[in-house]
Symmetry: C2
Subunit: 372 residues, 2 copies
């Protein structure tokens, strides 16, 4: 049911296909995030127009609200949010360590207080898998401990616990129509990342994720650790860099062999009035746009750029109209999704280096040299 | 360019057609309101799916923000907000008397402070028409004084000023591709309403509006005054009841010969989590809906009801997701727009009485007897 096929390679980069019960993912891909079973400010029809390969939802949020039993009773996440394409849920691990209050970690799992109402909750490998099986996404994630990036001793301890928990997730899993991905941890420390990549690679996961990056470390640290891990991960399985989704990270990640990306960045930027373009970011609230008849990006073929002026977008932002979030989310997601499609095409066509240099130059960024 | 045709009548009720440069309006109709050049939480594409005959925008709001010169520079309201169908702007009169701070009325016009930034602004018949000509809607409205409903002396003074201002609006108008409608005022007082209806009817307006109702008076007072005015207004011109848009008001209004309605009610209800159905209002935040797999209205064929459960809508509301406003706005607007289409069909088919009785009964409302 879950099958990886490498279609083309270009140095470390790959173009692949991964089959799931709801369709085949063409990689490299960027996945929009529907944290609470909705990609913020978009209907599923608007999302479908953007043709995303994969859509995420967050186990932590849905566990707390409305609860996995309600989603299950409504026919699972696909039916609940009316999305018929491939979906992925994370494990709740990341949010427990970033959002929840007063968490207490033990070897069995984590007890924490809900950031919504302060009620005591517990997640463990078995509980997380149980929730994710009720949510019913095509790809589910192992429950991991996402450590702060700079503390070696804690990063090691969290990594070791993550490995034990990964085995327990594999044992806890019962559904055959869901692919469980393992997660490599180890902070920014090369020896830990190498150890984790070896151990997770040795387990029977149909896909591999790199967790715990883009959490405050430098871009150089992030990119180096992607290289370290990808040099070890099996080539015949998809590689998912979790929670990463700026344009430069997609480009640098694909160059280093990453297949799957996700991030709230494009929709969050949209709600803050920022437009992501191939030529960099625009603050659409700027007074300079008040009488600007151009589209956000005159070369963009998204619904927003085909139909609305910068002046109108700015007006909506100044007037605090919800439509601003919708139109900017459509544009920003289109920019990331199109970039991922272009990167795939560049891998297939064998011109990834030139494409990457040019795309980074348009963003006024220098390419970060690979170290391995 | 602007031409009224009565297609059918049923007692006082009419089914008509009114041609405008952007299309022919089929009446009775309900017009969604795009206060700030956007029907809140909907893209024009979503709005188009609902097939509204007419869309409103507010002169007061657009005058203050972004300013009529910017809208004009962007090609007018249709182009600015990407709406190609018939549009109507009000005159700003109502908002000056309900939203603005520290207004000072003189015979020439009104000086007030913007509710947004406190800056001093002025509107008069000539200024309002000038703004509306720059906005460029198909139907524009005379600048009127909307008095509090209960004070006879003030209602009379405001009405008299409204009549003088109506003449000045006719003189100020320069564009041939816009229809200027006159507005009948007079509070809840029969003699004033009769006087105003006679005077406005005597002026060369291609359409007539009833202003200053649904502003705090009883339903009986409102309906009675509609009857009083419509008994005098010419039959060969469209009649627009301003700012009125509950289901019962549409039904009772059509029975009394009203052709055009508008109101923010459906989209405002949506933002407050209320669904308008043919069987009454549902508070979608209610815990009873937490596990309810049914559509808001299982008989409704809007996008929301065709694809989403009450449980999902409730989840979105509880989780404060923007999509809740969008899905409820689609449903509520569809309910009103479909009711208007059904009322038209009932007039054409000659079964309006039965339809009205049945529709009101479903809403658990008694029909209000006509008094004239």
């Amino acid at each position: 049911m879950f099958n990886w096929k490498t279609i083309a390679t270009d140095n470390k980069a790959r173009a692949g296909e991964f089959t799931t019960p709801h369709g085949t993912l063409k990689t490299p891909l960027f996945a929009p995030v529907g944290t609470q079973a909705t990609v913020k400010s978009l209907t599923p029809a608007q999302l479908a127009d953007l043709q995303p390969e994969l859509v995420l939802a967050n186990t932590y949020h849905l566990f707390l609200r409305p609860g996995e039993d309600i989603v299950d009773a409504m026919g699972g996440l696909h039916n609940f949010m009316h999305w018929d394409g491939p979906m992925l849920t994370d494990s709740g691990g990341f949010q427990v360590f970033s959002l929840a209050d007063t968490r207490k970690i033990d070897d069995d799992g984590v007890t924490f207080r809900s950031h919504i109402d302060g009620s005591e909750k517990r997640l463990s490998p078995e509980i997380s898998i149980g929730i994710q099986e009720k949510l019913g996404a095509d790809i589910i994630m192992a429950f991991d401990e996402c450590a702060k990036p700079l503390d070696y001793d804690y990063a090691k301890e969290a990594m070791q616990r993550t490995h034990v928990w990964a085995e327990r997730c594999l044992k806890a899993k019962t559904r055959q129509d869901q692919a469980l991905f393992g997660i490599v941890q180890g902070g920014i420390f090369r020896d830990l990342r190498e150890e984790s990549a070896h151990i997770i690679s040795g387990m029977d996961f149909p896909g591999m994720a790199i967790g715990g990056l883009s959490v405050g470390e430098s871009k150089e640290d992030m990119y180096r650790n992607i290289e370290v891990v990808n040099a070890i991960l099996p080539t015949e399985k998809p590689r998912y860099l979790m929670g990463v989704g700026t344009q430069e990270d997609l480009i640098e990640g694909v160059l280093r062999g990453v297949d799957i990306f996700d991030c709230v960045h494009p929709t969050r930027m949209a709600r803050h009035g920022a437009a992501m373009t191939n030529n960099g970011r625009l603050n659409m609230k700027g007074a300079a746009f008040a009488r600007d008849p151009l589209a956000i990006d005159p070369e963009c073929d998204c619904y927003t750029c085909q139909n609305f002026s910068r002046a109108y977008i700015r007006h909506l932002l100044v007037a605090k109209e919800m439509l601003a979030s919708t139109l900017l989310s459509i544009h920003n997601l289109h920019t990331l999704l199109q970039l991922a499609r272009d990167l795939r095409q560049a891998v297939v066509g064998g011109y990834l280096d030139e494409f990457a240099d040019e795309a980074l130059a348009k963003l006024q960024l220098a390419r970060v040299p690979e170290v391995l």
